[in-house]
């Protein structure tokens, strides 16, 4: 059983504490959404939690093991990471990009073991991009490209997934498609930690919401428990109408 556990994480940048004592747990079978305004420290929390960014204090455990003691490859086999910026240096083929997800298993595009090929194939099917497999990445639409990146992350076959704004700049239909991919992943026993800016989308798909403000977790729990008009006014400074899991933004608070 692999869970991601952050304990009292502190990240300091340029003399100020950007993440101030964050603790959170992502368990198998749950989709956890990290919410908070720009600059709340969400991305830094993810990066430090994965051990990609150095933390000044606190511990992060992956499946009970200290992340800082894991090699980059060991970590990559436990958790797949989809960063916020997804630049592509070369007009690579879709199936080659997805194959990069198998890097931690010693694979490379064009050099896949049977298990690697099977994982790549399954990820292509799951993300409904089999038809695009021979296309060059620079010929894809934004929605198609988002699914290619998801397929790359799913192909790793890691029990955990950390994604930073995976639906940014997508239209509503493609947002649903990508979030459906995460739901399917979770329903099969995976654990996912996803940063979102769309509160309505978060409330619809998340099992648990973690609210961050100024580098701290200010609330955590199911959407029913933690999604309130007062919280939205406090954290985001917006006026909203909330009914159960549905939200309507009305304006400035």
């Amino acid at each position: 059983m692999t869970e991601l556990r952050l304990c009292d994480l502190v990240v300091r940048r340029d003399g100020t504490d950007r993440v101030r004592g964050v603790s959170l747990v992502v368990s198998p079978g749950e989709l956890v959404v990290l919410l908070g305004p720009n600059g709340a420290g969400k991305t830094l929390t993810l990066r430090a939690g994965l051990g990609i960014e150095a933390a000044q204090a606190g511990t992060t455990l992956l499946g009970g093991k200290d992340t800082s003691r894991l090699s980059a490859l060991q970590r990559a086999r436990r958790v797949a990471y989809l960063p916020q910026s997804r630049p592509l240096a070369w007009p690579s083929r879709v199936e080659d990009l997805v194959a990069l997800g198998r890097f931690a298993y010693g694979a490379a595009p064009g050099r896949l073991s049977e298990a690697d090929s099977a994982a790549v194939e399954a990820a292509l099917v799951a993300c409904q991009i089999e038809a695009l497999r021979h296309r060059r990445a620079d010929t894809l639409s934004g929605g198609e490209l988002a699914r290619v990146h998801c397929a790359r992350a799913f192909a790793a076959g890691a029990p955990l997934m950390v994604a930073d704004e995976p639906v940014a700049a997508l239209d509503p239909r493609h947002q649903f498609r990508v979030m459906d991919l995460f739901r399917t992943f979770v329903s099969k026993g995976g654990g996912a930690l996803v940063v979102l800016h769309d509160i309505a989308l978060a409330a619809r798909f998340a099992d648990r919401l973690i609210w961050m403000q100024a580098g701290q977790v200010v609330a955590a729990g199911s959407p029913e428990e933690t999604l309130t008009a007062a919280r939205l006014a406090d954290i985001y400074g917006v006026r909203a109408r909330v009914e159960g899991r549905s939200v309507e933004m009305l304006g400035f608070a």
Partner: protein, 330 residues
Amino acid sequence: MTVSRLLVPGLVLAAVLSLGLACLAGSTPMAPGRVLAALAGQASPADQVVVWQIRLPRALAAFAVGLALGGSGAALQGLLRNPLAEPGVLGVSASAALAATFTLYFGFAAHAPFILPLAAIGGALLATGLIALAALRTRSVVTLILIGVGLSSFSAALMSLMMNLAPNPFSLSDMVSWMLGSVANRSLEDLARILPFLVAGLVLLWISRRGLSALTLGEEAASGLGVDLVRQRLAVVLGAGLATGAAVALAGTIGFIGIVAPHLVRPLTAHDPARSLLPAGLLGGVLLVLADLGVRTLPTSVELNLGVVAALIGAPAFAWIAAQRRTGHD
């Protein structure tokens, strides 16, 4: 699919053919039978000398230089995620040539035959190290290339200064030949002296090639995939520094082959930096052997320098590749 599978065998064949052709052609053309006999040690002493001491060493030197520069170019392009990154453009070749010229100017090179190659490799490593340090501070590849241009210009300025102050015409002509780049009059001993560095550099690039594929997704995603970025940078910087330094020690500065060869190969390898590495090196070698063959057989009153011809063809190609770039992520 079939094209990419035949690419490496095809290029190996082209390399063998071009090396053979370089042995056939020259001021006294020799028939294939005579060359084969000379290679097997069965020909007249004069033929043996022409093949073993003049044509073959020169062709092999051109091939080694092209292999080193093509491979280094492909690896640096993968690391910096930009098709314009290349030892020449990044100032690596110029720094290596400066260090080599330095040993010539002060007469160190005359003390022992390995001093000049070591200096060239040291200069190349210094430049790749500086570029890698700068790469830690900036994400913009354009900035890195501009730093390389600065490095290149500064090396050129110092070389001009040394030429300006050259004590006698002999050291001046030595320095000029390093600047212009040539494989004329190279012996098998010259080649053997730089071979260990060349091989070490290319092996380093070869074993770190998988990380270059992962870097297609950007540094952050690559480190998420399990690439140790520090080790990856170090391996490519060391590998490209060693290989480029060895090439400059053998032939002086020969520019643009590190851009042109990978650029031609990339569409045939699905734009994958790892799969482009070997074909880019092989094509670089073949191109330089053929270019040197042209230099040797062109009926000019003074023999042209290989580096000059490479730049005449390569610089416009560089401008063309730069113009083709879609302004996107930097």
